[in-house]
Amino acid sequence: MHIPDGILPVPVTAAGYAATVVVTWYSVRKINQKENPRQDIPKASLLTAAFFVASWIHIPVPPTSVHLVLNGLLGAVLGYFAFPAILIGLFFQAVMFQHGGLTTLGVNAVIMGLPAIIAHYIFRIRRFGNQESRRKTGIFGFLSGAVAIGISVAMFVLILLTNIPADLDIGTERAALYTLAIAHLPLIAIEGVITLLLAVFLQRVRPRILDGV
């Protein structure tokens, strides 16, 4: 779900970079405001790498298999580090696997990163009210996973279709939009369920990770 080089016009990629710079700058500023900003860097870096690696896990969905995206959980766990983490992950993807692209790095970071930040806030809701139960972790885990990937898919499809360097007639465009959106529904469901299961697993095994960085 990364937009490659060569498709998007310069204004869009430039806007993507601008948005990325602003959000990254804001994240870095927030991190620097912490009492000891360096303390969380190793944690955030290794979790960045771990999320990157975890996205290599494939889930069989006959006839093919899907790989995990996990930007919802990443946002939930990494907080202000989430956007830089996604930016770094996408940079590695582009440079090492030629997946995504260098000009579209900004756009892709927005597509994956903004939903991660939203997921962070969704996941924090579980803390309100009485105590933190496994069920609540599960529910908000599912929500943050599904919502994050849902928004990412929507942004991806919209940006791609409105910027293809050729005009499509409205009918084709709408049909393509619906087809792509529906094709992604199972992915959204699976991401939600996996995020739920992962959140419950982490709560049982190492709850500190869920407390955020």
Partner: protein, 253 residues
């Protein structure tokens, strides 16, 4: 004479070559025959190819040449053979379930056993390694020694006939190491053990294979091979302390 012909080898390896995509010929033309009940120790320096050889035996790595036969049936690349089991050097690589019970049940469940049968096997395996009371704990919370025991239980639960251990005493304290040695001494399966802990090999194995740079250098009686100073030193080994004065009549020297 008769019995020897009747008993089939547990493992027959002939002319095995193994490579990694970016590193050819890590194991070169290895042939080995292991009879039922034998306990074979594999010794050799870092990078000799012991772990690679084991991965080949289990069918994880595809041989570039050669054949592996376990209990009369050839091992095919990518095919799961519950009668061959490998205990990894790092127990963390084997433990990923939320509880010890799940971890030990993982193998039997994949074999398609019934729920009751799985339960029987898990209990049995945990009691063999003395970890019954850990069943409900998350594997990630265990001490190093407990992790080792649980990872062994996870493999025993599949009731393998050929058990392969990669560095069973790595990272253990002296008490846990002693427990592993007892377990190995008591086990009835055919064993293949790679270790840099030569004292462990000496206590457990009745045969030793010395490997270096992917070749079998020698194969035979543990005491005899390990007390051959020249041979051991040439391949980065040291005569184990217990061999120096105990078994060799040093009083006459």
């Amino acid at each position: 004479m008769l019995s020897e012909e009747l008993i089939k080898p547990t493992l027959t390896v002939s002319g095995l070559w193994l490579s990694y995509p970016d590193r050819p010929d890590v194991v070169q033309d290895v042939s080995l025959k292991v009879m039922p009940g034998e306990r074979v120790g594999l010794i050799g320096p870092n990078g000799a190819g012991k772990t690679t050889f084991f991965l080949g035996l289990c069918g994880v790595l595809k041989p570039s040449a050669g054949e592996i036969v376990v209990l009369g049936k050839p091992v095919l690349n990518g095919h799961f053979r519950p009668e061959v089991a490998l205990v990894f050097q790092n127990p963390d690589d084997q433990l990923f379930c939320p509880s010890v019970w799940d971890d030990v049940a993982f193998g039997p469940q994949n074999m398609g056993l019934s729920k009751d049968e799985v339960e029987v096997r898990v209990k049995e395996a945990l009691s063999v390694v003395g970890a019954v009371e850990l069943a409900d704990r998350p594997s990630h919370h265990l001490s190093e020694g407990e992790k080792r025991m649980v990872s062994i239980a996870g493999v025993l639960a599949m009731r393998p006939r050929l058990l392969i251990y990669d560095e069973p005493s790595a990272n253990l304290d002296i008490r846990s190491r002693r427990r592993v040695i007892h377990l190995l001494q008591e086990s009835k399966e055919t064993l293949l053990i790679a270790s840099h802990d030569l004292e462990l090999i000496l206590e457990v194995c009745n045969r030793v294979v010395l490997v270096d740079s992917g070749h079998i250098i020698t194969d035979g009686d543990p005491c005899k091979i390990m007390s051959d100073d020249r041979l051991m030193e040439a391949h980065g080994q040291e005569k184990p302390h217990s061999l120096v004065p105990h078994r060799i009549p040093h009083h006459e020297l």
